[in-house]
Amino acid sequence: MSAAFRISGAGRLSQAKTASFSFDDKSYTGIEGDTLASALLANGVHLVGRSFKYHRPRGFLSAGAEEPNALVQIVRDDARKTPNVRATVQELYDGLTANSQNRWPSLAFDVGAVNDIASPLFSAGFYYKTFMWPKWAWRDLYEPKIRAAAGLGVSPDKPDPDHYAARYAHCEVLVLGGGAAGIAAALAAAETGVRVILADEQAEFGGSLRFESGARIDGQDGYAWARAAIAKLKAMGNVRVLSRTTAFGYYAQNFVGLVERVSDHLKNPGRELARERLWQVRAKRVVIATGAIERHMVFANNDRPGVMLASAARTYLNHYGVAVGRNVGVYTANDSAYAAAIDLNKAGVNVAAIVDLRDNPAGPVIDEARALGIEINFGRAVVSASGKLRVSSMTVQPKNGGGERTIPVDAILMSAGWTPSVHLFSQSRGKVAFNDETKRFVPGTYAQDCVSVGACNGTDGLDATIDEAYAAGAKASKDTGGSARKSAKPKVDAGESWSRGMLGAAPGAGPGTTVKAFVDFQNDVTAKDIRQAVHEGMHSIEHVKRFTTNGMATDQGKTSNMHGLAIAAEELGKPIPQVGLTTFRAPYTPVTFGSIVGHARGALFDPTRRTATHGWAASQGAVFEDVGHWKRAWYFPKAGEDMHKAVDRECVTVRKVGGLFDASTLGKIEVVGPDAAKFMELLYTNPWEKLETGRCRYGIMLREDGFIYDDGVVGRLAPDRFHVTTTTGGAPRVMNHMEDYLQTEFPHLNVWLTSITEQWAVIAVQGPKSRDIIAPLVEGIDMSDEAMPHMSVREGKICGVPTRLFRMSFTGERGFEVNVPADYGEAVWEALWAEGQKHGATAYGTEAMHVLRAEKGYIIVGQDTDGTVTPNDAGLDWAVGKKKTDFVGIRGLIRPDLVAKGRKQLVGLKTKDPKVVLEEGAQIVADPKQPIPMKMIGHVTSSYWSENCGRSIALALVAGGRDRMGQTLYVPMPNGTIEVEVTGMVFVDEKGERLNG
């Protein structure tokens, strides 16, 4: 059974394919190919939402993307509850479930509508003026209440289960908009063989040909021509045709972002389909054919359900076969609404009257309407609409005042004229120009390689549009290497043409009136609000916009901006171009976060780097921590151990026996070449020329400003070869820093830099038994103290594979770092582990590593330094070559502030109560009794429980720290002040004897 307002014989949908759906728990039947809007209208449903501020009942204003009113929540399941979906865009599928928004308890009876009655309180700038005081009330009272009342729709509270695809594409000609203009441009370009992409936001191409019943092209009905042309384009190998695809953003160098809605229109999309696909297209030329958007008339109660754009009513009739009423009124200031009246009249709908603001317009559509016997009233205005949940009548008055007459209607079709869609042109940074004659902004100065054609360019008439678009498509392809065209341009046999109209408030809603004549439906901005904003001092359109929120809703003022501007201009007594136009920004229509994020979420948000021993560590029950992209073993708890117990055991075992630690994440760079030592001299503070082959040195790298940038042990493998290590997090930037200087400041040096971080796995074996653990597996290296002292490096074999064996220590114990090719990392680790087991060694993680190094006062760059710490501040002055004449940072180091007294210096701290462990980052003061705010003289950089010391230990940056040895300082914390003593930074083995122990 067909719905009550479906007109048999009208529209293009096959009546056979029905689809059932529900709206606010009531079931309806629609037809496949419907939008939710057309399906509801077919069932006579106009009331679909409540407005944002006044909670006024609202219906459908449009039949497209510009819809400000009909926002609904589409519910697929618990995790898929999409709010703010425009019912005019949502395609119907069988089983679709939609709910209205912004109403309680029901759409027809909404408590929030009290705001409408109280509306004098809620005028423009209400929030700014009202919730100013008392200050506390904002946080505790106003904001929570406003937040609860505001907002449209309800976000789903479960993770989005859908997936989103992304594609990059390149083409010579990108055509945005698939109406008559876009299709003509695409045809012209496609024939020349260049790559063409044609995109349109609708499910079906054709644009206004969907409702323009008078159009005939190449001997056929306009819409049939469009379908045939699209079929032809789809069959061409060089053309990509994208429907349901909105160009939402136009970026630099013809980079255009588009979102393709892949499956929102399907009943059961299935997992293999993405919900949406983001297209990032780079085009040599862009043809903008985005058309124009009809404006509403601004009169009292113009928001009542049933009051809609004339072109929308025509679309519902001519495309969907739906009559928006049985007895409609028409209110217009231009010709195009006549065509709607004529089409509806021919379909059997009674047109009660056409009310035309113009005095004596003439033209074929007017003649035709008159011939059909439709009542036409020139020089008159609709001054008000009546009816609450649905319009019931319109009140008509001569436009200069006079007797009123009320005409019963169940819908009002309105047209104030057409606004060229210059959004994308404007986003491309093109400057619009105001055409004073036609009262519209059209593309003026271009900033990119694009061209606007058709209605969005202010071109009126189908013939002129196709001419212009075809020529533009041909030129764009010719400019980008297309071959000569073969076929002729489409011939327009008949077309519709209209322009002009009016901007601003209609009679009855002009200055001095207080009626609710809406300019912006979604944000409930009336003509009066705009005037009030001007009176209150908002003289720039940008200020008017923000004060009234005109054009700031999700529809971004597609129907409201020009009216708002005209009213402000009138009130200011200035011509429109002098008041200006607000900036068009991406996105053109709302874009989901999902489509922007794509697959980059959850586990795929960021790359994960795992070391060669990751699997082994996981099998041992290691707990991992994230260090940059790396997963590092944090600690290895045994049964029954918590983190503290595990770390304590690991720390004690390393100093007593030995431990194995995966240090593979350290950055490693090979510096090779005849000038390698010279290069090292320039990049590090230390001297390198005299470092013997086979020896290592702890190096410090500065930035040019003199602050510590990175550190690490460097081994000289050969006169022309250094194996440089960096901090884990610093590896990429150190490499970049080195390359920068090598390529641009010291290009005369003959040096090559190679990142070898991932090529070498590094196993640190530390502790008194370290040599005993390694030695049985090593070939060709004499590991005696005489042959291989602390800070040396040897090349040889371990477990039969090549190794760079460093003798070095980040624990203060005798220690080695075994470098092996990463592919052998796990095997060598397991061999070393087996040896270690014989001695009772432990595997230890990054937490124990941190404690052990802190016990020795070894700093971690980025933890104990923060980019404002010099080598001297860190107690590392010894590592700065005093005889050197140049290195990066040499000049920065002698800047006045860097040599001034009282700088923060790195020191040790011992809490007076040894059991108390300080909080890292805690601030330090000299006098805890001083009034707040206290003078902070430093902060804790590292702090741990040291089982080896039987007490807590800490490192801190303290002003003049090294002159405060033995002093008592204070760390004020929420639970009381902690007393600390300033000490040296070494807590274990001050003489360093254990390095050879």
């Binding site: 630099a252 160098q253 980079f255 040019e704 970049n736 641009t744 290009p747 040499i890 800047r895």
Partner: protein, 98 residues
């Protein structure tokens, strides 16, 4: 996303492959240790930040890894030209009519 022509690869590549490296033609003194405070301030801290044409360094970090120089308009974001590191500041810019 911009397209940037790498003067070493001799082709336009997407911005994702590049990283900005600050103002170009800031020369590090051969005798930097002996530089006055004023000169060091100019070298290290002071940058032009113009509205319009800027000379800056870029690195084709995810490509050939070379540093090069570029002339860009900070208003339009357009790259006027790119050239190799070490080459002098171009005396004349292409299309510099305005």
């Amino acid at each position: 996303m911009l397209l940037i022509r790498c003067p070493y690869c001799e082709e336009e590549r997407p911005e994702l492959e590049f990283r900005n490296a600050g103002e170009a033609h800031v020369v590090r003194s051969a005798n930097i240790a002996g530089e006055s405070d004023d000169d060091f301030e100019k070298f290290f801290f002071i940058r032009a930040n113009p509205k319009g044409v800027i000379y800056e360094r870029w690195r084709h970090i995810h490509g050939c890894a070379r540093f090069f120089n570029a002339v860009r308009d900070t208003v339009t974001d357009k790259f006027v030209m790119t050239y190799k590191a070490g080459e002098p500041k171009p005396a004349k810019l292409p299309g510099a009519a305005k």
